[in-house]
Amino acid sequence: MKLTAHALLAALATTALLAGGSAQALTAADYQSVLIAAAKAAEPGFAGFSAERGAAFYRSTHGGDWSCASCHTEQPTQPGSHAVTHKQVKPLAPAANPERFTRADKIEKWFKRNCNDVLKRACTPREQGDFIAYLLSVK
């Protein structure tokens, strides 16, 4: 699954580079299209991502101490603050911070770290897609 996602992303990145010549090869929507394939493979009945589900996911503490909003704030267009060190975190919503979701390695790294911190497990492709759908809906 992960290898497939990587291959798709590499193809997407190459296409974007050839087409635009831009160093920022990815957009959040590009990454979502990769997640759709992964979600379909993981869930036979998968019927698309939902910003609404993503919003609920973003605010839930999932039975632990933290939610996504603990660091990224209730309003992800605003700068946040690291729950442990209080260091400022740049806004998470692409509308406020266009650098978000433009590098596959960074997206995967932070999903891995933060899902472990908040949910104590990896996030599923659907959860990641819902999460991004929500962030893209925030203006």
């Binding site: 442990v84 060190t85 209080h86 260091k87 790294k109 891995k112 770290r113």
Partner: protein
């Protein structure tokens, strides 16, 4: 060289030194730091000077990144090795920078205690944590921990020697 010349020469030296400060390699008084160190470590906290902990301390930090003081700071193997090597090369060789607690912390070394007294231990919900150097050392991001850049938040008193 007469006295005036000497003073002028010293002033020129001082001016040169002042002008050079912001352009230190990597923009950091303890640097230069590799870009990976800034990107991976300084996104959650100030890029701590590697010179403030001994090599065994850093080795231990880098071996348990998935459980890094309450958060997952896991890295891919290539970046982890590069950062671990950088920390080992620049680690302190002095006992006063050896951590006295587990897991090792820069704020729990004999040197840190001597410099800061009880201040960081007062950290709590309303006061900045010891991990947040920049809350008092306003220019910590650039490695400037001198007293001229020090501004203590409400509730802290400067340590009396």
């Amino acid at each position: 060289m007469n006295k005036t010349h000497k003073i002028l020469a010293l002033l020129a030296l001082a001016a040169g030194a002042t002008a050079a400060t912001p352009t230190l390699a990597g923009g950091h008084a303890y640097g230069p730091f590799p870009a990976s160190y800034i990107e991976e470590c300084a996104s959650c906290h100030v890029a701590y000077p590697p010179q403030l902990l001994t090599a065994p301390g850093w080795a231990q930090v880098m071996l348990q990144l998935d459980q890094h003081y309450g958060v997952d700071a896991g890295l891919d193997a290539k970046r982890r090795t590069a950062i671990a090597d950088f920390l080992q090369r620049n680690a302190s060789r002095r006992d006063k920078h050896a951590a006295t607690a587990q897991p090792p912390r820069l704020a729990q070394t004999p040197w840190f205690r001597k410099e800061h007294g009880p201040l960081p231990q007062q950290a709590g919900k309303t006061l900045p944590a010891a991990a947040q150097c920049e809350s008092c050392h306003r220019a910590a991001e650039h490695g400037d921990y001198t007293e001229s850049g020090l501004r203590l938040p409400a509730g802290y008193r400067h340590m009396e020697h």
